[in-house]
């Protein structure tokens, strides 16, 4: 195990790769270690308190990768993301699970990363690189580096909606989750972004639904069109919670319910 006390020291650390894992909250890495740690060669432990900070930056909010879900819930600036943070496990998990870790959480986890995808967050690597979250998620597992932070645009709470579908309450994992950024100007929607969780091996955008809504008013016809197109871009599979068939069947239903809540 290598301990990194300050983020500046990242350079001396081995590049995270298939056998190097970053230990932050522990919900993923400690679980793997408890079960033998197969495939884990080295662990990087980051303890720099700066990694946990949440603060305003430019037009958005910068969230340190080691900020926990509980930290997010304590940040008024992130009110739009609170519904997504609130449904990550029970209180103990929310005290441990980090924003950075959620970016790497495999199916069916990663509801918060999915919300960040809908919010069009930027991912900041420790080496200074930044990229859109969609690119980061797309290359997940192949990229090397340590995520230091994400920045999210300032979101109007009324324009951001999150919905989680789980079999059990209040803590069940996602059968699917949906987040939608629905900016509005003059009665019309701007550039809509809709994310789905647990509908693929990583958080995915429902591009068909986004196109059906962007620039339209949120009327029943637009909602119908969005729901009809909502599977475009998604790639659900069977898992212990539900089959691919069921996920495809109810995705439009849950998207409709989310959108009708907004209207």
């Amino acid at each position: 195990m290598i301990e990194i006390e300050r983020l500046d020291d990242v350079a001396r650390a081995p590049a995270p790769g298939p056998d190097v894992r970053v230990l932050a909250g522990g919900t993923l890495v400690m679980r793997a270690l408890n079960y033998g740690g197969h495939g884990i060669g080295r662990i990087l432990r980051l303890t720099d308190p700066a990694l946990r900070e949440i603060h305003s930056e430019g037009g958005g909010v910068r969230i340190g990768a080691a900020a926990t879900m509980a930290d997010v819930l304590a940040a008024p600036d992130l009110a739009a993301l609170h519904p997504a943070a609130q449904v990550v496990g029970g209180p103990a998990i929310r005290n441990m699970a980090t924003v950075g870790g959620n970016l790497f959480a495999p199916h069916p986890y990663g509801d918060f990363a999915m919300a960040l995808l809908a919010a069009n967050a930027q991912v900041h690597w420790a080496d200074g690189r930044a990229e859109p979250i969609e690119a980061m998620l797309g290359a997940r597992g192949r990229s090397a580096g340590i995520v230091a932070a994400v920045t999210v645009p300032r979101l109007q709470h009324s324009e951001f909606r999150f919905r989680k579908v789980s079999r059990t309450k209040p803590k069940g994992v996602s059968l699917m989750s949906i987040a939608a950024h629905l900016p509005r100007a003059g009665g019309r929607l701007g550039d809509v972004r809709i994310g789905f969780g647990a509908m693929g091996d990583r958080p995915l955008r429902a591009t068909g639904a986004e196109q059906a809504l962007s620039g339209r008013s949120l009327d029943p016809a637009a909602i119908d069109a969005a729901c009809a197109a909502c599977l475009d871009g998604l790639a659900p599979a069977d898992d212990p919670l539900a089959s691919e068939w069921y996920r495809r069947q109810v995705a439009p239903i849950h998207l409709r319910r989310l959108l009708e809540e907004v209207r």
Binding site: L33, N34, Y35, G36, G37, H38
Partner: protein, 640 residues
């Protein structure tokens, strides 16, 4: 939110409610330990130099083991010992051999073949759990993957892969048949007379007992050359006897401590972790813990097996069910564990709490290449009840009768004859129906409200009808392709006269009168000795035949699968020949009879334990887990 009420007015005349302690909401004896974290479960005992044991497991549903390469694992840090099948002294067992039921069919560690995914092929004992895990992952097995079968009905086909060599037909042997039969009256005559036939199939799912504490045990070498075992077992002497048998050691060398368990729900009867831990302690001379993690608990630990039930009812327009047949399939997985018992227990439960004059059932315990099934809360019954009660609603719909009314109409009453040929007594189904309907505001007819479990029996309902018998499904016939049907056959080969039944089985009386509680202190009406035989007051004189002795080991199966003898049907009520109780080397449960020359008494500094189990000696500590009923050594001496 929830509420509880006691309906003391019901059955008040059968009960005294002036007992001093019974009925009180006394605080649990164990609760203070629970809330202070002081309750000691098996894992809450600390030992210096504790070792950890982990298994290497099969990734295949069915495969032959060509070879096991442990060389890399043996060199890994912290590894103290690798354990293979050859290290298990008596590596074949079945749980219920302790009560002489079934054949030994399951190794503790597989040596030649695995029959389910997750079956153990080796174990590693190491200084830390992580080291044991990593070394277990480094064990290399050369597999020859075999075809597998996962569906119960597929497994019955003649060409299905053979799951378990001890039961080559993929069915448990209920001698002389490959299934349990229930025959009461003539269902096919009943179906012919019925106005409606209602048939459906019901499927249970495998369910995990999911106790919060996973299965496990810690074994510790103790003084006097004994092994102490802290265990989370649900059945202390089951686990003790099973361990003694698998490890071929006198059970008096085992000291099992448990009794405080973090939930069981049936899954902790299987007695796997105890022999593993004790074996580890024997081989290393150090304390060894064998504990399942949650993944093992969920996919390696035995679930409640899936059951499939086909129910066919013949019903009259007025709602009376006149015939009911069952075809049941218990998915036992790769080995028997307790599923054989579930089949029998399930059959004893048929046709549910209803009086039906014609009942038949064929119930199979079937081997498939899945995790062996075992007990769970409601064992053998939950699935039958699901099927029966869903079916009752189907029947109610077909004949247009209120679902509760249909149940009350058919409900068994005191004195009714049940399909397993015992008289119903102490029944209360009707009252439960009435009370819950009242609570929920479900209106019942005046007739249904007036019904009672105490009345309503008739001479007809008390009688045992003439019964159609058959001999279809003898062991081996299905594999040979000579029988394909699984439902109770229409081709009966004989008839048992009306009224034929054996004798009831009662509690063994107390040894001395002062062990009996005084009747005035018991709080309810004591059984009338005249009723003990269960003879219904209205029943006609019945020819009786004795039931066969319990759970005697079935005689060895004929080696050749030759056609069954066309034995004549039961022309007269004669008991089937009781198989002689024969000592079987692999089933030492009944070794209480001295079968070997008495070994010399062991002194305090006796060297190695004898390889052979010692014969039963009444003045020695308890031997072999379970003894012959009624001869416990605790009660042999004369009291003061």
């Amino acid at each position: 939110m929830s509420s509880v009420e006691f309906r003391k007015e019901l059955f008040a005349d059968e009960r005294q409610d002036d007992l001093k302690q019974i009925g009180r909401p006394a605080i649990r004896q164990d609760i203070r330990g629970h809330v202070t974290g002081r309750t000691a479960y098996y894992d809450d005992h600390l030992f210096e130099r504790l070792l950890h044991m982990r298994c290497a497991r099969s990734p295949h549903h069915h495969a032959r083991i060509r070879s096991v390469d442990t060389s890399e694992a043996a060199r890994m840090p912290g590894v103290q010992r690798i354990v293979l099948a050859k290290d298990v002294p008596n590596n074949l067992n079945t749980l219920l051999s302790l009560i002489n039921f079934g054949k030994d069919d399951e190794p503790l560690i597989a040596g030649t073949k695995v029959s389910y995914r997750g079956e153990a092929v080796a174990a590693v004992i190491a200084e830390t759990e992580l080291q044991a895990r990593q070394a277990a992952a480094a064990i290399r097995v050369d597999w020859e993957v075999l075809p597998h079968v996962l569906d119960v009905e597929e497994a019955l086909k003649p060409d299905a892969p053979q799951v378990n060599a001890v039961y080559p037909d993929n069915t448990f042997d209920y001698e002389p048949y490959d299934h349990v039969k229930l025959r009461f009256g003539d269902v096919h005559k009943g179906f012919a007379a019925a106005d409606e036939i209602v048939e459906a199939t019901y499927q249970m799912s495998p369910i995990e007992q999911a106790p919060m504490e996973t299965c496990g045990a810690i074994a510790v070498p103790e003084t006097a050359d004994r092994i102490l075992c802290h265990t989370g077992t649900q059945a202390l002497f089951f686990s003790l006897g099973t361990t003694a048998k698998l490890l071929d050691m006198p059970s008096s060398r085992l000291h099992f401590v448990g009794g405080t368990v973090g939930g069981g729900f049936g899954g902790k009867v299987d007695s796997i972790t105890e022999p593993m831990a004790v074996l580890g302690a024997v081989l290393t001379g150090r304390p060894v813990k064998f504990q399942w993690d949650r993944e093992e608990e969920m996919q390696v630990g035995a679930p409640r097996g899936a059951e499939r039930w086909v129910i066919r009812d013949g019903v009259m327009r007025d709602g009376r069910i006149v015939a009911r047949s069952f075809t049941g399939y218990f998915d036992s997985g790769a080995y028997t564990r307790l599923s054989s018992y579930a089949g029998t227990k399930g059959v004893g439960h048929l046709p549910g709490p209803y009086s039906i004059p014609n009942v038949a059932a064929n119930v199979f315990c079937i081997f498939t290449n899945r995790t062996p099934a075992t007990a769970m809360r409601g064992f053998g019954i939950t699935g039958v009840d699901f099927a029966i009660e869903c079916h009752m609603d189907r029947v109610a719909e077909r004949v247009g009768i209120d679902p509760i009314s249909l149940r009350i109409l058919n409900a068994y009453r005191d004195g009714d004859m049940k399909a397993h040929r015992r008289t119903a007594k102490n029944t209360a189904l009707v009252e439960c129906c009435q009370v819950v309907a009242d609570k929920a505001g479900w209106r019942l007819s005046a007739e249904d409200r007036a019904a009672s479990s105490l009345t309503g029996t008739t001479a007809e309902r008390q009688a045992i009808p003439e019964t159609a018998l058959d001999e279809e499904g003898r062991i081996g016939e299905r594999r040979a392709g000579r029988v394909t049907g699984t439902a109770p056959t229409e081709r009966s080969t004989g008839r048992l006269p009306a009224g034929t039944r054996g004798r009831d089985h009662a509690a063994i009386p107390v040894q001395r009168p002062d062990m009996e509680i005084l009747s005035e202190r018991v709080g309810h009406r004591m059984p009338d000795p005249a009723e003990a035989g269960g003879a219904p007051p209205l029943a006609a004189a019945a020819p009786a035949r004795p039931t066969p002795p319990a759970a005697s080991p079935p005689p060895a199966r004929p080696a050749s699968a030759s056609p069954p003898p066309a034995s004549p049907p039961h022309a007269a009520p004669a008991p089937p020949p009781a198989p002689p109780r024969q000592p079987e080397p692999a089933q030492p449960a009944h070794r209480s009879e001295p079968t070997a020359p008495t070994a010399p008494a062991r002194g305090g500094h006796d060297p190695a334990p004898p390889a052979q189990p010692k014969p039963y000696e009444p003045d020695k500590p308890f031997s072999r887990g379970v003894n012959r009923p009624g001869v416990s050594r605790f009660l042999t001496g004369r009291r003061r």
